[in-house]
């Protein structure tokens, strides 16, 4: 129970951020799109400011709560390289990740996003099940 309330509150804030970004700038707060466009040098001030904010977020959390969020790194560095490459290639090829498809796509009832979310959740579940030998 103790983890459900912060998760719900965090989710509400993520939703508020994503919809505010759309209402204010007219753009979808899809992180893979924002990072990909930033890497390609498109709209550097806009995309750069959002990414800077993302990095500042946990610092604000530290200032407010007095502690860093709990983080337990599980991947070795080589595995992190493989995972990062797959996340980078996959999110661009699939036109979105957990934010663009997961939050805003589902909120728009986009059929493409529903397919994307079911696909990446299934792939993630299969991967972790194999990784942890859960079956």
């Amino acid at each position: 129970m103790s983890t459900y309330l912060p998760s719900l509150a965090g989710g509400l804030l993520i939703g508020l951020s994503a919809i505010s970004y759309l209402i204010l700038t007219g753009r979808i707060a899809g992180i893979s799109g924002i990072v990909g466009r930033l890497a390609e040098g498109s709209l550097p001030w806009l995309n750069g400011a959002f990414v800077l904010g993302l990095v500042l977020g946990p610092l604000v959390y530290l200032a407010v709560t007095g502690a860093w969020p709990q983080v337990t790194i599980t991947a070795s560095l080589p595995l992190a390289v493989v995972a990062g490459l797959l996340v980078g290639i996959g999110s661009r090829m699939g036109s979105g990740c957990t934010s663009g498809h997961g939050v805003l796509g589902l909120a728009r009832l986009s059929p493409r996003s529903m397919v994307a979310v079911v696909t990446f959740l299934t792939a993630g579940i299969v991967t972790v099940t194999i990784l942890r030998g859960s079956l």
Binding site: G10, T72, A75, A80, R112, G124
Partner: protein, 142 residues
Amino acid sequence: MNRFAQPLAALVCGTLFGFGLALSGMLDPARVQGFLDLFGAWDPSLIFVLGGAVMVAMAGMLLVKRMRQPVFGEVFHIPTNRRIDLPLVLGSAVFGIGWGLGGFCPGPALSALSMGYLTPLVFVIAMVAGMVFHDRVLAGRI
């Protein structure tokens, strides 16, 4: 005015997003993997992150539909593509495998950078390399 207002709005929204990620538990790869470990030690709490975020965004979409233009912009850039095609499914599957392996998706990986761990930094560098590789080499071939 939009030249300055847009980046400022992006900075504020990005910070709120990062704060929400920190509060929600999404920055913790072990918890993300626990959420994906449906057949093992399943931790369902992260459903509330997606559920809460979608609920708020859905309510906000009602407002967006009534607006002619964004507050600090000329047009809404909302995707119009409705095709469910191979890149969508294959890309989402590849993304999901990487997400499961590392426990990081793009937003949390970037947010975690401020905490000074080496692994998220390595992950982000590889992720950006993967994005550039897709956009420059793979795009349009699949």
